[in-house]
C-alpha cells in the first residue's frame, strides 16, 4: 500500500488520477485534485488508501448515481481552481442549479453522500426557492407527488399567517368537511347499534328503485354503486339533492328520507354528507381502505372531533353556507 501512498503525495509533474466506482458498477477516473475536493473521497484516499488503481477504486455511496457524479465533478473542477473571484463562483453556482427538479433532488442526495457541504447548501437553497411561495397543490405538481395525505391530515387548517382571504375560505371549507367526517363517524357508531332496522329500510329503497327502473335504466349501475357505498357506511336511506346528483350526471330521484321513522338524526346527517360528498368522489374515504388504515383515520377523526368541540363556537361563526346553516339549525 505504500506505493499508493507515494502516488498521492507525488508532486504534480504527472497528473494523478483517482478511480471511483459507482454503486451500479461503473468505474471512472478523475483528476486527483478534482476528486480531493470531496471530503468523503479525500478521507478514503488518505485513510484507506483506495482509489489509486482500477482494482482498488473507491466505492461511492449508493445515492451517488453516475449522472449526479459527473455534475459534482464539474462543480469540483470549477471550484477547486484557486484563482477564481467570488463573483465568478456565484455566477457559476447560479447557472449550475438551473436544472430540472428531478436532477436537482438527485444532485442534493449525492452531494450529501459525498459530504460536499457547499454543494448541499447550494442545492437546498435552490429547492427552497422552488418550494417557497407555492400552494401544496403546486408543490405536488412540480415534484409529481401523489396526493396521499389522508383527508383528515389535509383538513388540518392552514396557519393563516397573513390573513389571506383564500386561506380563510379554505379553512372554512376544511372546517365544514371535518364536521361531516365527524358526523360520518358518529353515523358509523350509530349504524352498528341499529343494523337490523337499517337493512329493512335498504330493502324498501331497493324496491322503490327497482319499481322506478324505467326512468333510471341507464343509471342503475350508478345508483347501485351509491347504494353500495351507503351500505358500507350507514345503510340509511339516501336523499336526493339535485346539485351533487347532477355532478355525477345522474338524474336519479332517490327518495328524500324515505324512512325517516327510524333515525331522524342520522338521516339529516346523511343529507349533509350527500351534499358535500360528491366533490370528494375520487377520495378513497371508504372504498379501498384496509381496516388498519380505517382505524387510524377513525382515531384521527375522533381527535379532530374533540378539537372541534373546543372551537365549535368559532366554527359556527365561520360557516356561512346557507345550506349548512339550515341543516345545522334543524339539528341544534
Amino acid at each position: 500500500m505504500s506505493e499508493s501512498e507515494l502516488a498521492v503525495i507525488k508532486p504534480e509533474a504527472l497528473k494523478t488520477y483517482i478511480w471511483l466506482q459507482c454503486f451500479d458498477g461503473s468505474i471512472q477516473q478523475v483528476e486527483e485534485e478534482v476528486a480531493m475536493f470531496c471530503p468523503m473521497i479525500c478521507r478514503e484516499i488518505v485513510k484507506n488508501g483506495t482509489g489509486s488503481s482500477k482494482n482498488h477504486a473507491i466505492v461511492l455511496p449508493e445515492r451517488v448515481n453516475p449522472a449526479s457524479l459527473s455534475l459534482i465533478l464539474d462543480y469540483c473542477r470549477f471550484h477547486q481552481v484557486p484563482g477564481r473571484s467570488n463573483k465568478e463562483r456565484k455566477s457559476f453556482d447560479e447557472k449550475f442549479v438551473r436544472i430540472d427538479t428531478e436532477k436537482l433532488c438527485k444532485l442534493a442526495s449525492a452531494a450529501l453522500g459525498l459530504q460536499l457541504r457547499p454543494l448541499v447548501d447550494l442545492t437546498c437553497g435552490a429547492l427552497a426557492r422552488i418550494i417557497g411561495g407555492k400552494t401544496p397543490d403546486e408543490v405536488r405538481d412540480i415534484f409529481h407527488l401523489p396526493d396521499d395525505l389522508t383527508e383528515e391530515e389535509k383538513l388540518e387548517p392552514l396557519k393563516n399567517i397573513n390573513d389571506d382571504p383564500t386561506i380563510r375560505l379554505l379553512n372554512r371549507l376544511y372546517a365544514k368537511k371535518r364536521k361531516e367526517l365527524q358526523e360520518r363517524q358518529k353515523l358509523k357508531d350509530v349504524q352498528t347499534q341499529e343494523e337490523q332496522k337499517d337493512e329493512r329500510s335498504l330493502d324498501e329503497l331497493l324496491c322503490f328503485i327497482n319499481g322506478d327502473g324505467g326512468s333510471r335504466g341507464g343509471k342503475a349501475s350508478k345508483s347501485k354503486k351509491k347504494n353500495k357505498r351507503r351500505k358500507d357506511q350507514a345503510k340509511n336511506p339516501t336523499k336526493a339533492n339535485s346539485e351533487p346528483v347532477n355532478k355525477e350526471g345522474a338524474g336519479c330521484v332517490v327518495p328524500r328520507k324515505a324512512d325517516s321513522g327510524n333515525i331522524s338524526g342520522p338521516c339529516q346527517r346523511q343529507d349533509l354528507q350527500d351534499d358535500i360528498e360528491y366533490p370528494f368522489d375520487d377520495a378513497d374515504l371508504d372504498d379501498g381502505l384496509d381496516p388498519a388504515m380505517r382505524e387510524e383515520i377513525d382515531r384521527e377523526v375522533a381527535d379532530f372531533a374533540m378539537k372541534l368541540n373546543l372551537v365549535w363556537p368559532e366554527r359556527m361563526l365561520l360557516g356561512q353556507d346557507q345550506r349548512m346553516e339550515s341543516h345545522v339549525g334543524a339539528r341544534w
Binding site: A128, P136, F143, H144, L145, D148, L149, E153, K159, N162
Partner: protein
Amino acid sequence: METTATESGPACEIARLPEDLLSESIARTAPRDACRAAAVSPAFRAAADSDAVWACFVPRDLPPLADGQLSPAPPSKKALFMRLSDSPVLLAAGLTSMWLDRETGAKCYMLSARALCVIWGDTPQYWRWIPLTDSSFSEAAELLHVWWLEIRGNIDSKMLSQNSAYAAYIVFKVARGAYGLDSRFAETSVSLGGSESTRQVCLDDLNRGYDESRRGPRPIGRGRIEIPPNVLVPRERADSWLELEMGEFQNAEGEDGEVSIRLMQTSSTVKSGLIVQGIEIRPKKQDR
C-alpha cells in the same frame, strides 16, 4: 436516467430525498411556506414540522421572559414559534412585551408607558396612571394637562433582529373630553447610530365626534383644521387602539447602538386627553 423508480410515470425523486435534506430546504423558506409544505405529503409533513426547520425560524437569542409566560412549555419548536407569534410575552421586568412577526420571525417589542420616559409623568396634576384591561400591561398614562408634551423611549438594537427594516409606532387612545391635541402637529423622531427619521403626526382621533353625513374635508375635534398631506393621521388597530408611525430605521448587521424614539409637542397650547399604552417597534411592511 436510471429506471429504478418504483412509481409509474414520472419518478418522484423528491420522495427519495432524505428527510434532513428536505428539512434543510424548507428551513431556507419562510414560516408560511413551512406550514404549507406540511400539507403536501406525509414525508413533507414530517420534514416541515420538524424542530430542524422551526429552530431556524425561532430567533436564537430570545430575551429572558417573565415567570410563567411560556407555561405549559410548548412541546416543539413549531409550537414555540406559533405561541410567540400569536400573542406577546412579557419580558422579565414586566414593562416590555415581545412577539415574533409571523412572516419573517423577526422580534417585535412594545415598550409600555411605564417603560417610557414621560416628561412630567410623575406629577399627578399633569399625568395620571390608569389601569388597563385590554393589554398585556397593567397601566397606561393619561394626559390631564400639559404644555410640554414629550415622550421618549429607547431600545438596544441588539434586542432586535438583524438585517431588518423596523419602524416605531405610538399606541394610544384619545379620551372623550380631549382638547388641544390637534391645534399643532406633533414631531416625532427615531434615530439609530447616525441616521434619524422624523415625522409630523396628528395626535387627535379624527373620528371623534365626526358626523359621517358631511362631505368635504373632515373637521378634527373642535379645531377644524385641514391636515396637510405630509402629516400622518392615526390608524385604527385591530385591538381598537390607535397608532401613528413615529419613524423608521434599518437594523443592519453589526450596527450596535441604541434606538432613540421621541415625540414632542411643546407649543404653548394646553393639551389634554391623550392615553398612551406604549410604543411598538416592529418590522415595517411595504404597504404601511
